[in-house]
């Protein structure tokens, strides 16, 4: 029959002080949360006016001229690439865009009233591009590259709107996104936007030529080059979008090389005509596009007019072209055994097209000696190319390209590593060797 011991004086004091402290702490946290929430809410409404009452599409059909201009601009923005499923109706959406946070499905841009843009006004469309907000007020996922499209002018947005309104309506409901918690919530999106997104617009720089300004508008705005060619942080936001310093495309796991150094994909030392040819035809004397850039040329840049291509070239050529920051020291010579294994594999599988001397065959098979794409610090592109092969895009200027076989079924990961190490270190090439694990990561699309 033991009674509970009487509390000591010390315990009593602690008990009476504790709740007070907790209350204060809770109050401070609550105040902080409210402040943060207000800041997030306020930042998400920055510079944005609500849509007018009874907002909707105009009753008159769009003017033919605006439709034609809009079609051209929609190509420049490559809207169709994401908003069309393989083999699906153009612009009807449904393509899955894989992100590290889950899959976002593109929406239907045809003028169907229930499942597409049929009830949207030009103002609502502009708000989506400029502010990243849907007609119903929901925030949009930045897989839709509005951090770039925010620079698109109202006039251009209106023309694209007119073009989309001229398309045949397709009834195709949007697929719900498959995002992991908490990324699928509007709150998470609002916080992300408060941290990383501000509505933009590009005022022309008066001391630069008009051509450069036009190029900057196309590269940073509709072209949304930074979506791939700029590095991303852990939350998927592009860092220093204007810098185009290169980045690993999340999930796709291709490295979009830097456009600001001639060691990667910079064109500071290319003639304008060659830059134009690369974007228009997919092939130029010093380079061929494959990988995800093939899609950009195939669906977008091959349709741009000469003046716009020259403007893009002018802008890209004016980017700093020199040594990137923190450039690696010369990598060590890879082990002799790996080079010997690689050389034997090369002779068997590669030399027929790329030549014993790695010089390729002009007009058909690219050289590997001195090839910037082969020598990138990250081996992911060269490994992916060996595994998957590939064709440059078929364009009017390059209608019958040569292609490379996929070797994923032919040689093992060990062998891919050896041959990749070899081509990165033969004929005067020098780049870090490739390990079997690099090949595994590239094949499984696991990033680095």
């Amino acid at each position: 029959m033991n009674a509970a011991p009487a509390p000591t004086p010390t315990t009593t004091t602690a008990r009476s002080r504790g709740p007070k402290r907790w209350a204060l702490a809770a109050l401070a946290v609550a105040v902080l949360l409210v402040a943060c929430a207000s800041a997030v809410a306020w930042l998400n409404r920055w510079g944005e006016a609500p849509l007018p009452e009874g907002d909707g599409p105009p009753s008159a059909p769009p003017a033919a001229r605006s439709v034609a201009r809009g079609e051209y601009l929609a190509r420049a923005g490559n809207c169709m690439a994401c908003h069309t499923e393989a083999g699906g109706a153009p612009f009807a959406g449904g393509r899955g865009i894989e992100t590290p946070f889950g899959t976002v499905y593109s929406t239907n841009l045809t003028p169907d009233p229930d499942t597409g843009l049929g009830r949207w006004s030009a103002g609502a469309f502009w708000r989506a591009l400029h502010h990243g907000r849907s007609r119903d007020g929901r925030l949009l996922y930045p897989a839709f590259p509005y951090p770039s499209y925010t620079h698109v002018t109202r006039e251009d947005a209106d023309a694209i709107y007119d073009y989309l309104r001229s398309l045949p309506p397709v009834r195709q409901p949007a697929r719900p996104h498959a995002l992991e918690f908490p990324y699928g919530t509007q709150t998470a999106l609002a916080v992300w936007r408060a941290m990383f997104f501000r509505p933009g617009g590009l005022a022309p720089e008066a001391d630069r030529p008009a051509e450069w300004n036009r190029g900057r508008y196309l590269v940073q705005g509709l072209g949304h080059c930074a979506a791939c060619h700029a590095p991303r942080n852990a939350l998927g936001a592009t860092r220093d979008a204007a810098g185009l310093r290169g980045g690993l495309i999340p999930v796709q796991n291709w490295y979009a090389p830097a456009l600001d150094t001639v060691h990667e994909a910079g064109v500071a030392d290319w003639p304008v005509e060659e830059v134009v040819a690369l974007l228009r035809d997919g092939v130029a004397p010093r380079g061929t596009v494959t990988g995800p850039m093939a899609e950009v040329v195939f669906r977008s840049t091959q349709y741009l007019d000469d003046a716009d291509l020259r403007a893009i070239a002018a802008y890209l050529r004016a980017l700093p072209g020199g040594e990137p920051q923190g450039r690696r020291p010369t990598p060590p010579q890879p082990p002799k055994a790996a080079m010997e294994q690689g050389a034997a594999l090369y002779a068997r599988h590669c030399a027929q097209c790329h030549g014993d001397d790695g010089r390729g065959r002009p007009g058909a098979f690219p050289p590997l000696a001195g090839n910037r794409a082969v020598l990138l610090d990250t081996p992911v592109n060269v490994v992916r190319t060996i595994l998957q092969g590939g064709y440059p895009p078929v364009t009017a200027g390059h209608p019958r390209p040569h292609g490379m076989p996929p070797f994923t079924q032919v040689i093992s990961d060990d062998e891919v590593a050896a041959v990749a190490t070899y081509v990165r270190n033969a004929w005067g090439n020098r780049a870090p060797g490739v390990a079997t694990m690099d090949v595994y990561r590239a094949r499984e699309r696991r990033g680095r």
């Binding site: 083999g87 061929t288 899609e295 292609g403």
Partner: protein, 303 residues
């Protein structure tokens, strides 16, 4: 989403700006490599002759078909007689352009029955063309194929199909049968007689009495690996492989049990390819059911 795979000529910007490689550099490599090179050269020449011969032959077949009477019975689907307009003139440079296909489909596109991948050399041009479209547009699913074809136009795919269709190359003998005699007999009976009670037509009704396919859109069933046949019929059953509507093969495949599928595949894979293996000019009779792929090919159009 963009990312260029850039391939620069020359090791440095200065070298890149230098004139084209000198003649010395363009000469064939020496030693063993030079033998290989010369072999390739002569093989290419031989191949070109074959291609030219095949092209002439194909043109003949095409013309004959154009003149052939259209068949048709009430309630049955007529076999379209006009071939898709494939150019019989094959560009000699095509062999190099389609080298990407050969890692899996074998040198000159003649994979044998030993592995998984199907032979493509000598298949009907319309059939090959539609398969290329299907892979590009997601009606057939094989990531390597879709990736290679993603940024190709209908015109180039048609040319590639025409190139492989025109190749006339010998077939290897089949591997030994990979099933027990009762299963093989079940397969043989389904292929030759079908099963009317279950609404399964005989394979030979569409794919030709010799099972070497029918111009321009029906493929051969012989000369293919068992695993490939199994997986294709399975893919039709699950909807992973599709054709133009009405999708006759999907309809047939869904009538087959798992035992039927493995019996048919095992029997077909063990058959030698008769004669030259060329597709027949026309089916033995009217098709037992409408086939969207055959009709699309007759129209010569893409979906």
């Amino acid at each position: 989403m963009p990312a260029p795979m850039d391939s620069a000529f020359g090791p440095t910007p200065a070298a890149a700006a230098a004139p084209r490689p000198s003649r010395a550099r363009r000469q064939p490599p020496r030693g063993m490599a030079s033998h290989l090179f010369l072999c390739l050269r002569s093989r290419v020449a031989g191949r070109l002759l074959l291609v030219a011969a095949a092209a002439v032959g194909w043109a003949g077949v095409a013309m004959a078909q154009g003149q052939g009477p259209a068949q048709g019975l009430p309630g049955a689907t007529a076999v379209p007689a006009s071939p898709a307009p494939f150019s019989p003139a094959v560009d000699p440079g095509m062999a190099d352009r389609v080298i990407a296909c050969t890692a899996c489909h074998g040198r000159e596109g003649r994979a044998t029955q030993q592995g998984y991948f199907p032979r493509i050399a000598g298949k009907p041009a319309g059939y090959l063309y539609h398969q290329l479209l299907h892979f590009r547009d997601g009606r057939r699913s094989y990531p390597q194929m879709s990736y290679l074809l993603e940024h190709m136009t209908d015109g180039y795919l048609r040319e590639i199909a025409g190139y492989f269709a025109a190749l006339e190359l010998p077939y290897a003998p089949p591997p030994p049968p990979q099933a027990a005699p009762p299963a093989l007999e079940r397969g043989r009976r389904l292929v030759h007689e079908g099963d009317a009670a279950r609404g399964i037509p005989a394979c030979v009704q569409c794919h030709g009495a010799a099972m070497t396919g029918v111009q321009p859109a029906i493929p051969a069933l012989v000369g293919l690996p068992r695993d490939y046949l199994n997986s294709q019929i399975g893919a039709w059953q699950t909807g992973q492989r599709r054709s133009h509507a009405p999708d006759c093969m999907a309809r047939v495949a869904r009538q087959l049990t798992a035992e039927d599928v493995s019996a048919v595949s095992a029997w077909l894979a063990a058959q030698p390819v008769p004669g030259t293996g060329k597709p027949a000019a026309q089916a033995p009779g009217p098709l037992p059911m409408p086939c969207g792929g055959v009709e699309a090919s007759a129209r010569g159009d893409a979906p």
